[in-house]
Symmetry: C2
Subunit: 258 residues, 2 copies
């Protein structure tokens, strides 16, 4: 049975994979997402794989792992479920990971990132990669953020291994982090306090916000610190991933984490 090649795009397994590629609701309901491409699938070290989907020119021995399902499909069918322009013939159906703030372990002078209502998948991907590069402990994505498991963000964050909390209620999250003696620092264009003049001397959660509106008023009110990046030429604001990177860099310097 396992070696039978699926040749119809209307096969229910194939239809479901297409749903997982295209619809957040399907991903959420099934707790699954798709990872595509030779390098990305090879890089799935610590993730739990449900099934591998391969077109017939793929060598099973290169990818197969004990305990995962192997689904072979025709090139045509693979193209019909691929999210890329040049499909490489291999994708994995992967279990989403879920974390609880209560179980979060971290050391002194750790940094966390709370992302509120960021809408662009590319921005979210860059944000996550950057945070990983700066050694951030964990990321919290608000329930208004673009889906972490959409194909574009998945591509942009391959190889990133850190706890990412999804569908987070920001107020609750802030409250819980504060109980753990973590300082809440919000980016705010209206504040008079510049990033470079701030002291960072304990664990901190940086909150960044939506591309158009920044961090919400409600969240700003919960902040211990409000900061802004010095800007010239009356530029309205920096891209959210740029602003986050600059803040994270300065916080790392402040905490001597460079």
């Amino acid at each position: 049975m396992e070696n039978k090649i699926i040749t119809s795009a209307k096969n229910p397994i194939i239809k479901n994979i297409r749903q997982l590629q295209e619809k957040k609701a399907a991903r959420d309901e099934q707790g699954l997402f798709i990872v595509e491409g030779i390098r990305s699938v090879s890089d799935l070290k610590h993730k739990k794989i449900k099934a591998l989907v391969a077109s017939k020119h793929i060598n099973k021995n290169d990818f197969y792992k004990e305990g995962t399902q192997w689904i072979e499909v025709s090139d045509e069918v693979f193209c019909s479920i691929s999210d890329t322009k040049t499909p490489q013939g291999i994708m994995a159906i992967v279990y989403q990971e879920h974390y609880s703030i209560e179980e979060l372990n971290y050391e002194e002078n750790s940094i966390f990132l709370i992302v509120e209502n960021v809408q662009d998948a590319g921005n979210l991907g860059t944000l996550i990669r950057t945070a990983y590069g700066f050694g951030i402990e964990a990321i919290f994505l608000s329930n208004g953020c673009v889906d972490l498991y959409n194909p574009k963000t998945v591509r942009a964050t391959m190889g990133v291994e850190l706890p990412i909390f999804t569908n987070v209620n920001v107020s609750d999250c802030i409250q819980k982090l504060r109980q753990k003696d973590i300082e809440i620092c919000v980016t705010d264009l209206q504040t008079d306090i510049y990033l470079q003049n701030c002291t960072f001397n304990k664990s901190i959660a940086l909150v960044v916000g939506n591309e158009a509106n920044g961090v919400s008023k409600e969240t700003k009110q919960l902040a211990d610190k409000k900061i802004k990046i010095p800007m010239k030429n009356n530029l309205e604001s920096l891209n959210v991933s740029i602003a986050s990177a600059v803040c994270l860099y300065q916080i790392c310097m402040g905490l001597n984490l460079q």
Copy 2:
């Protein structure tokens, strides 16, 4: 004659506009580029406009300037030359600006940015906006960079008013800047010198490179300083616009330009 509405997508004026949207060669040859959308066209303060192209529902008085040509087209024709999903019915044909390094005026402790072979239009747009926000004096784009005048970059850099040199030979540019006592600082993943440990105390040109390969070997050899951003988790590299932003922030701090 001026009030005649163009209704054919095959009209030579229309065909040429499409060339200007799609082809760098056409833009270079004619020294023109297209700016599209109500806000973007309204924001064209210091740029020299050759013609305005409007669909008939646009009010001429809102956009028309003495000395520019007014081209009215049908909605259908406008859609055929628009680069956006939801065309707003107005675009401008704008003259490219060209600068000479010899005429460059700048004050003490100025910052310049040299961009070598960046390929992604989105990255270039973000880079330019960020540099503008940090008060950079001028930007030099190497002859291997994605075209400054492609529609995506044009959209991302609207409102940015600073000299941007295009088709630059990087070695020549570095030589000329050094003659003006400007220090050349290159991002380099292979160096042992971290950004935060560098002293910045004179005018500086930061060189950033291609997304996949970074700054070229040849250009690195011409540098006064090589720097890298501290990174955790063995992340290969940061996105080029992210890396540029962090470096520019630190350089601004070093030069007390915040």
